[in-house]
Amino acid sequence: MTIRALEKISVGQNGIGSFILQCKRLDIHYCDHSGSSRGMNAFIKTHLAKFAQTHPAIEFAVSPRPRKHPVMIGHYINGRQKSICVANMEPSQILKKAELLRDASGDKVKRVNKPVTSVNESVRGIWSPYHGNGMAV
């Protein structure tokens, strides 16, 4: 008997019943000695404490990565990661990148043609030639 997947009954729609922030963890790596990490070090010294305080839902892991460029890696609920190299950036720029990682949802970046995406059926039904009053000739 072939194995058949369980049919999905409901579609997860974040934001309806309750909203769950998609970013669950933010790894922040810096380097003690390399010059490209100067901005990141200043960001950790000035902005990070406040940013971490305002986002208790996100887990922050700060650790050095010697001899490497500083990088911020966002881990998301769908298991994917987004990493942004913040080498030679100013602390204000790095804060923007941190907000970008917080706002992102972890999905792949794709082109979207129509602004509205829906899983509900059409409210007024789909026209079909075999039903309704037919066409006046």
């Binding site: 729609q13 934001g15 706002d103 082109r111 602004p115 509205v116 995406t117 409210v123």
Partner: protein, 223 residues
């Protein structure tokens, strides 16, 4: 704010022509569309006229989940501009009183919400990717969309000219976050010029989830 004013004036001059079945019209004039926000980080202080008193208490009472008071900064960025409601004509008053309850009883409803002047035909649970990054909102904020041009169900449609009275319906959207598009590279060249310039663009867009669309009875406008 000024840009949206211009667009809504345009709409006033060209009333919609199609006459779908069983419609009724509500003469409502409005100046602009204002999503009402719940909580927000400290956005930049916009130049919106803050003279118009907003009534957060009333909005908060409607909101189901208990959120912190709307910070002053958000007020400055998104002031709630009430609609100028013309007194309904006797004919529209009659149709509303009679047909609106029928519309409410139908199972599914759709709504053409206008956000910053642009229409989005949505039902409850849809996701909108706005063509811009909305400043001053944080994922998790709830917006109250109070400008809608049509509201309908399977057999009935309520059309506003240009907008429906905001007291007739409630539509809330949650900000999910921001998404971005794949990097688009435009190569700009001139003839007989070997050198070409690459212009990269990768915009960010805010994502909303329509969490709730509900219609109030005619008593909302005391008919």
């Amino acid at each position: 704010m000024s840009r949206s004013l211009l667009r809504s004036l345009l709409e006033l001059r060209a009333p919609s022509t199609s006459r779908p079945a069983a419609q009724f019209r509500l003469p409502v004039r409005s100046l602009s569309t204002t999503p009402l926000r719940r909580n927000s980080p400290t956005p930049r202080n916009a130049t919106a006229p803050s003279s118009i008193p907003t009534n957060p208490a009333e909005a908060a009472s409607l909101a189901t989940e208990s959120r912190s008071q709307i910070p002053q900064a958000a007020e400055a960025l998104y002031p709630r501009i009430p609609q100028q409601v013309n007194p309904p004509t006797s004919e529209s008053r009659a149709t509303i009183a009679q047909l609106l309850p029928l519309l409410r009883t139908q199972p599914a409803h759709y709504l053409t919400a206008h956000i910053w002047g642009r229409p989005y035909l949505v039902t409850a649970g849809d996701q909108i990717r706005l063509p811009f990054k909305m400043p001053g909102v944080v994922p998790g904020d709830v917006l109250r969309l109070d400008r809608a041009s049509t509201l309908g169900s399977r057999d009935f449609t309520l059309k506003g000219s240009p907008y429906i009275d905001e007291r007739l319906f409630e539509c809330r959207a949650t900000v999910l976050g921001t998404e971005t598009e794949p990097m688009r590279i435009k190569i700009k060249t001139k003839r007989r010029q070997r050198r070409n310039k690459q212009v990269r663009s990768k915009h960010h867009f805010t994502i909303l989830r329509i969490s709730e669309v509900s219609i109030n009875g005619p008593e909302a406008v005391s008919l």
